[in-house]
Amino acid sequence: MIGSSPIIAEQRYGRGLEDLVAGDTAISEIDGRAGRLLYRGYPIEDLVGRVSFEETAYLVLFGEMPDDSQLENWSAELERWRDPPQAALDALRSVPRNAHPLAQFRTMMTVAACHIPEPENTELDAQWRRPARILSWTAALAARAIRHLEGADLVPPRDDLGYAANFLHQATGRTSSTEETTAFEASLVVQAEHGLHAAAFAALVVISTGADLGSAVLAGMGALSGARHGGANQLAFEMLEQLNGPGTARQWAREALARRLRFPGFGHRVYKCPDPRVRALEPYAEALLDANGDGRLWNTYLALREEIEGALGAKGIFANVDSITGLIYHPIGLPVSAFPIPFCLAIQTGWMAHCLEYLPDGKVIAPGAVYIDPTA
């Protein structure tokens, strides 16, 4: 919608396009002062724990909650693409084991993209097929990358499991408990869309050139792979893991605050208040950690959050979603270096929704650069 919808013709903005309103969207509403996130008008608190990731993806992509038959068709389409091209799975044999898991994932995706028919046909169901294929292929490839870290092979998908449960099954090689699946699904639901964050914006720039949806998603993955973006949940968890209990956490936080260090997982460009995704996920993380006898880690998180928010909350710095997701992925048994992967799987839904919304406008996105002239 950046292309042709009404654009505010004169704007004031900062570096990194901070505060620039790039265009209109009907996908999500983010209120950074009230701390609210709504998908197509539904507050995420209403959705989390009550709808599946499949339903959320349908809502985000196509604008409405699916009815029973729409959901059945959409789920069937997602299931249909659970087996990515064998060549993509085999691509891992050509990369060193000590490559970053996200780089391995990337290599499989780029090989998989070589197997998307070209030109993509324009049959009616293509609008469904393209996002469904991407959502399901990436889940299988991500699971393969995670299994590879453990030196294990990918287990086949299970027809009786939905998107979230099947991913966990394929990634961990075991059947997850209901609590694990529910918590993981909740993490996918609240991370399915988040406006024009850097990765969504990168995807939109790519789609604006007339490129295919898979290319746009790859660009989004590129942005998300960065330490400052999707990698932040890994860094946030590593920080927490090094702190030995709530007492140490409080003491370390005070020292770090005095030295004005930055904390991964805290602060957000848009939210200057508690991140609604954090509040939605905390009960799930607490329950999982408790069940695992890991209440100490939970208390460490709480202590750290209280210290940091107590000191910096007045400046608008609060825990963001990256501080909490690791506390779900860790008890489920995902390796730390793979934490960014579930975020990728969920948030690509939003990128694709923005791309599909943008397509009819079609104007190429190309801002300018000012040459800083040493002679001027």
């Binding site: 654009i7 704007q11 004031r12 900062g14 990194g16 396009l17 901070e18 505060d19 620039l20 309103v21 790039a22 209109d24 969207t25 999500s28 983010i30 539904y42 009550r50 050509s94 990369v95 060193p96 000590n98 490559a99 970053h100 996200l102 780089a103 290599t107 090989v111 993209a113 070589c114 024009l196 850097a198 720039v205 790519v206 604006s208 050139t209 007339g210 490129a211 660009a219 993955m221 590129g222 998300l224 960065g226 330490a227 400052r228 999707g230 990698g231 460009r269 270096s337 104007k363 190429v364 996105i365 190309a366 801002p367 300018g368 650069a369 000012v370 040459y371 800083i372 002239d373 002679t375």
Partner: protein, 400 residues
């Protein structure tokens, strides 16, 4: 606070400094938005004037080779100013063309009819897995600075040429230039001096051109502190779009089947009457012919003569004249892809390889911009205005 009338022709996109936040015009496609400050390159969209590190591109075209210009862009030192640095840079970028065996095999396992840009993405990704492991500095400062990414990409494009032709992959001679190595892979014979000069010219002219979508995509990805190979995969994803580098391929798809100027003339008339598009014409921002066209047209003419393909040049020239006559009154002019694509083809590149070849040149400018930005770059994160449904309650029976 700086206020800039960026969409008026009085603004030439140069300033001594920018005081953030800035107030500017904002047009469709974010035209007029200041998304970067740079010392690497200057492009004035209203005149098409282009300079690298303060040196007008006109004065580089045909005089400096691609490696010299890449060194100028990345290190900020002009040809002649730093002969030792340049020699070292040449050695580095040329030696980065040695690819891991696994990567060659990964490409060899793909269907040779896969679009080369897709094969290149897979190859770049795989190279990145070898180049940077979990223990390395993932910012890839060295890979950008030494332009290893450019040498590696050139080597991958060579491997893709061999794979498409069904010939044995062979590594470029370590001493030969990037252009020499590429031409040898394209044509399976040692290149002539004129061919080398022409490819260098093409790469020099495509090395940087503002924040077009592939470059801007790379800047966004860099702002997230992603590794260079993720960055290049993202940039390549944008480059092939039909409205960017992909258009160069379409130019050839349109020109090559036309047998003579009469057919060309008729084709232009028919295409425009049917509301079709003549590839190589029109630009999202410019309302003038791209100044780089002049030197490319001249070079294409002489290369066509040298290769016994004058008819092809005549066809192109006819299309240019007929399309300009019809489109110029609507503000649509010839762009760099038209003769650029033709010249790449005369140098031995089949149409789908052209976006890959453009990518090699462009990567020099992108690397320079990214490297310059890495120190203080701020995450790109604009906002959107919500115009969707009003807040509604979700009832768990599925109705709302």
């Amino acid at each position: 606070m700086t206020k800039l009338r960026t969409l008026s022709s009085g603004f030439d996109w140069r300033a001594a400094k920018i005081d953030w936040p800035v107030t500017t015009d904002v047009g469709p496609g974010l035209a007029g938005v200041v998304a970067a400050e740079t010392r690497v390159m200057w492009l004035d969209p209203s005149s098409g004037e282009l300079a690298y590190r303060g040196v007008a591109v006109d004065s580089l075209a045909g005089r400096a080779d691609f490696e010299e210009v890449a060194h100028l862009l990345i290190a900020g030192k002009g040809p002649g100013n730093d002969p030792r640095g340049l020699a070292e840079f040449r050695r580095q970028v040329r030696s980065s063309r040695a690819l891991p065996r696994d990567v060659i095999e990964l490409i060899g396992a793909l269907d040779p009819d896969t679009h080369p840009t897709r094969m290149l993405r897979a190859g770049v990704s795989a190279v990145g897995c070898h180049e940077l492991t979990v223990d390395d500095d993932l910012s890839g400062e060295r890979q950008w600075r030494e332009l290893r990414v450019v040498g590696q990409t050139a080597a991958l494009v060579s491997a893709i040429c061999h794979h498409r032709a069904g010939s044995e992959p062979s590594e470029a001679e370590p001493g030969c230039s990037l252009a020499e190595g590429m031409l040898a892979a394209l044509n399976d014979r040692p290149p002539t001096a004129d061919e080398v000069r022409a490819l260098d010219l093409l790469w020099v002219l495509s090395a940087a051109h503002g924040l077009d979508p592939p470059t801007f995509t790379s800047m966004i990805v860099a702002s997230c502190l992603a590794d260079p190979y993720y960055n290049i995969v993202a940039g390549l994803s944008a480059l092939r779009g039909p409205k960017t580098g992909g258009a160069a391929e379409t130019v050839l798809d349109q020109l090559l089947p036309l047998r003579d100027p009469f057919e060309a003339e008729a084709w232009v008339a028919r295409t425009l009457a049917d509301g079709g598009v003549i590839a190589g014409f029109g630009h999202h921002a410019y309302r003038m012919p791209d100044p780089r066209v002049v030197v490319l047209r001249k070079e294409a003419a002489s290369m066509a003569r040298a290769h016994g393909r004058r008819e092809l040049f005549e066809v192109a020239r006819t299309v240019e004249v007929a399309a300009t006559r019809a489109l110029a009154p609507r503000g649509v002019y010839i762009n760099v892809n038209f003769y650029g694509a033709l010249l790449f083809n005369l140098l031995g590149a089949e149409p789908p390889l052209v976006p890959c070849l453009i990518a090699i040149g462009r990567m020099a400018g992108t690397a320079a911009l990214v490297r310059e930005a890495l120190d203080g770059i701020r995450l790109y994160r604009p906002l959107s205005r919500y115009v969707g449904p009003a807040e509604r309650r979700f009832e768990s029976d599925g109705t709302s």
